[in-house]
């Protein structure tokens, strides 16, 4: 795993320096820690703020999604490590426009503890906060323990949907929180890893895997999956992933579904499109109508090879919010 970097301990700070230098129209650093990214142009006064945060190494997640119609601010941890409580509190402060702040992030113990404690801190400064926690990674826990599932690419849908609601005039913290929760509940994801990635400070791959193996259900930090075996043909991989997703939550309701076919990093878009044929056929075969398919790199693990598929089961509200305008350096709707 070769990486282009300087001092591994400066990886995140240098990355952020480059990010804000390249996109000053989108991002600015806020506060003293150097680890809080906020919108270059803050949302209007009275807008509900949305903040996220988590470990680095997942661009565009999390920081990349700061932007109009998306997040207001983000706390940035070291690679695959939670930001500190202080940084999260600072991010909440940056996101606050006087109407309270939604904390919207993934289901990881450290992030939860820190965001909770950060919330306690800003409470003393009279900033009201709520939380919605993404737990969309189906293979990471069974349906009975669905609240233990990890948060992965479904986050992107939640950012987009909550962001649209927060942007609309007259929506309060409760409304934004409720919409975010509906988005979080609507998402199901599954990942499949082909190679590990390397955390710069660790200097060695996150896990080992054979030259011709794949691991179904693996997490974005290399958390063990549900099946390791020989690399299968693309169509069979797609079938297995769709089986997992549609078993956990069949197409229902309006039948309208958005789907994300996401590269974990190194896997090129060519391969995503090969998979998409089957994903589309399976969804349509299950009676679904596909809305705004997303094929590309939306939530990654640096140079990990592999893919994830996320379904976002829509209703009319969610669909409208998903399609509302939004803009950051990585995604324009």
């Amino acid at each position: 795993m070769k990486k282009i970097l300087n001092d591994p301990y400066a990886y995140v700070d240098e990355m952020l320096a480059g990010l804000v230098a390249a996109h000053p129209e989108h991002y600015r650093l806020h506060g003293d820690s150097g680890r809080v990214v906020a919108r270059a142009t803050p949302g209007r006064q009275g807008k509900v703020g949305i903040v996220s945060g988590g470990g680095s190494g997942h661009l565009p997640v999390f920081t990349g999604y700061v932007g109009k119609g998306l997040l207001d601010a983000c706390a940035v941890g070291d690679v695959f490590a939670s930001p500190s409580v202080e940084q999260m509190a600072d991010a909440i402060r940056a996101a606050d426009r006087g109407a309270g702040v939604l904390r919207l992030y993934g289901n990881y113990g450290g992030d939860i503890m820190n965001f909770d404690m950060a919330g306690d801190m800003v409470e003393m400064e009279d900033i009201a906060t709520t939380s919605v926690i993404l737990a969309d990674d189906v293979p990471s826990a069974g349906p009975a323990e669905a609240d233990k599932r990890r948060g992965v690419a479904g986050m992107v849908y939640a950012f987009k949907i909550a962001g649209a609601v927060a942007e609309a005039a007259g929506t309060d913290l409760a409304a934004v929180t409720a919409a975010a929760q509906r988005a979080a509940d609507a998402c199901r994801s599954v990942g499949c890893a082909l190679t590990p990635c390397t955390v710069p400070q660790a200097g060695k791959p996150t896990f080992e895997i054979g030259e011709t193996e794949m691991e179904m259900g693996m997490g974005i930090h290399g958390e063990p999956g549900i099946r390791r075996g020989e690399l299968r043909p693309a169509d069979r991989i797609a079938e297995e992933m769709m089986d997992i997703l549609l078993t956990d939550r069949p197409v229902g309701g309006t039948g309208r579904v958005s789907v994300m076919v996401n590269s974990l990093g190194a896997t090129p878009p060519e391969e995503l499109y090969i998979l998409y044929r089957v994903v589309k056929a399976r969804l349509e075969g299950a009676g679904a109508e596909i809305v705004m398919p997303l094929v590309g790199r939306y939530a990654t693990s640096m140079e990990m090879a592999g893919v994830s598929i996320t379904l976002c089961h829509l209703d009319a509200d969610l669909e409208g919010w998903l399609e509302a305008p939004a803009e950051c350096a990585f995604w324009k709707v």
Binding site: S33, A81, G110, M117
Partner: protein, 209 residues
């Protein structure tokens, strides 16, 4: 250390001395903690403890006399320096103790058990873990119980160390149920919980001259 020795209690000077000892010892045990955490998690626990203690160090020479405020200062060192779970839990525990001691410049050693209990409760709320999940909480609970009625520094320390050791022996073969270690499931059986070991090493640090 100009004042007389007060065998029944402690003030900010004693606190500062204890923290300095812990800080020194963390440098010694950092690799051990990283290694154990590396087997079950991300291998940063030693780093967390070292960074936290180093962040606290500059403040030790003039801690506020108010023990509550002093402990608050120490807690902040941990919330700023790292985002790791254990750092946040340490900060949470310190804040709980700080609340108990707010406005006081001196405390009895016999109060330590209650402080440990307060820390335990707030950390349990923060981390949503239960007793038996094989986390630092199990050792903290045992220490709080074992130190009830201990009314000297050495007595407190002795009882706490023994309780932590026993708990670790007792729980070594249980599976971890929370945090990163949980995802390794069976792999955690037979291995100490890194957070428990960190707590033990904190007590070891206090015991070292």
């Amino acid at each position: 250390m100009a004042g007389e020795v007060d065998p029944a209690g402690f003030d900010r000077a004693v606190l500062a001395m204890g923290l300095a000892r812990i800080a020194r010892h963390m440098e010694v045990v950092a690799d051990e903690l990283n290694a154990l955490d590396g087997q079950l998690g991300d291998g940063d626990l030693g780093v967390t403890m070292v960074r936290g203690s180093r962040a606290v160090a500059p403040a030790l020479d003039d801690l506020p006399p108010d023990l509550g405020k002093a402990l608050m200062t120490v807690a902040q060192g941990f919330t700023k320096s790292s985002g790791s779970s254990f750092g946040t839990l340490v900060a949470t525990g310190l804040l709980a103790a700080a609340k108990e001691l707010k406005g006081r410049e001196r405390a009895d050693w016999s109060e330590v058990s209650g402080l440990l209990r307060a820390a335990f409760k707030m950390m349990r709320t923060r981390g949503k873990a239960e007793l038996g999940d094989k986390t630092v909480l199990d050792t903290l609970d045992a220490a709080a119980t074992a130190t009830v009625g201990c009314d000297s520094g050495p007595a407190v320390l002795d009882a706490a160390r023994r309780a932590v050791e026993d708990t670790m022996d007792r729980m070594r073969d249980a599976p971890a149920k929370i945090g990163r270690a949980r995802i390794f499931g069976e792999k955690s059986v037979g291995l100490d919980d890194p957070g428990m070991l960190a707590f033990r090493r904190i007590l070891d640090g206090l015991a070292e001259g």
